[in-house]
Assembly symmetry: C2
Homo-oligomer: 200 residues x 2
């Protein structure tokens, strides 16, 4: 039995979003499932000593151009969010709670909705009310989800997952592990195919 592909992402990361639309197909090609791990890049970027991508001189401008170009080339719906980047704390906590309470399949269904809302439908997913509504779209009671996000156990669980990601040297989004081999970036998907193919 192959181990799952570990997929780390921040809901505010365009390349994380692009990866989310292709990761399941990529994993399936190699008879693997995907373990989804929402993280927060803010604390990680502080450790790496890097500012958010689009705030970097030159690189920021290139990235903004590259987001829409990549979406177009890969046929992924994309409207660059008016507010960007945003805090994804509520969304990440919500996914963490849904995972614990309703299982990973429901959590992944929710994650797709969050990404789609933020990057294809101009919804501000930093807003907890928007997060509740997206939960409701996949059948989660908004009141229960609000309670779940507010629980200390949920907060602690997300924090410990992010600490575990940092301990694994996750420094960006998307960040993947396949049998402990690390891969950073959506532009590495073909490369991953090559790598997996070479091990067959």
């Amino acid at each position: 039995m192959n181990s799952p592909v570990d997929f780390y992402f921040d809901f505010s990361s365009p390349y994380g979003y692009f990866a989310s639309t292709r990761i399941e197909a990529l994993a399936a090609e190699f008879d693997r499932t995907v373990a989804w791990h929402p993280i927060l890049l803010g604390p990680i970027f502080k450790l790496v000593g890097a500012p958010p991508l689009i705030q970097m001189p030159m690189k920021g401008q290139y990235s903004l151009h590259d987001f829409t170009r990549t979406a177009r080339l890969f046929d992924i719906p994309y409207v660059h969010p008016d507010r960007f980047p945003i805090s994804t704390l509520s969304a990440a906590r919500a996914m963490t709670w849904i995972d614990a309470r309703h299982g990973p399949d429901k959590a992944v269904e929710f994650a797709h909705r969050v990404f789609d809302a933020f990057f294809a439908r101009q919804q501000d997913v930093s807003n907890a009310d928007v997060v509740m509504a997206l939960g409701a779209d996949v059948g989660i009671d908004p009141g229960q989800l609000a309670d779940g996000i507010a629980q200390q156990t949920t907060k602690d669980e997300l924090k410990s997952r992010i600490d575990a990601a940092i301990a694994r040297n996750v420094f960006g989004s998307p960040f993947l592990f396949i049998d402990d081999e690390p891969f950073w970036g959506f532009d590495r998907f073909d490369y991953i195919r090559k790598w997996l193919g070479s091990r067959r």
Copy 2:
């Protein structure tokens, strides 16, 4: 007539080296030639506000692993240099002078030698004597090359080329322009194929 692919690189960049082994074939697929532009990442990284890749926490460690992995996957000879990164000022000036004096074909032949010496044969190409010897390998008189590197016009020419690269927002290596469309990174070569294919 298609415009050439502009290929910017630092001789100390592993991904620049990998690109140098594939760029001509990539360009030829789309009936283009390549214009090679040696740059120095040091002053550019200062502008971007980024430390050299391998000095960054987490990212540095990943990169070191990725250099050898990439070389293996793409069948490119690679021995990670003992001293890394290094100053490539002499090599970049030498290429600039060879280009002016002996033409671009000879300059590109020299560039391949420099990359190969540094990344496949453990030669310290920050050393001007090593640079002269590599020039001699492609038929350049070492004394003339030494004089050429020392000329103020050569220094000015390289500096003005790097300023021109910065003005074009070149912030890494390899960095390519195809009809003014910017692409950063060796891992974007398949992506470039996709982009060029989509425009046919």
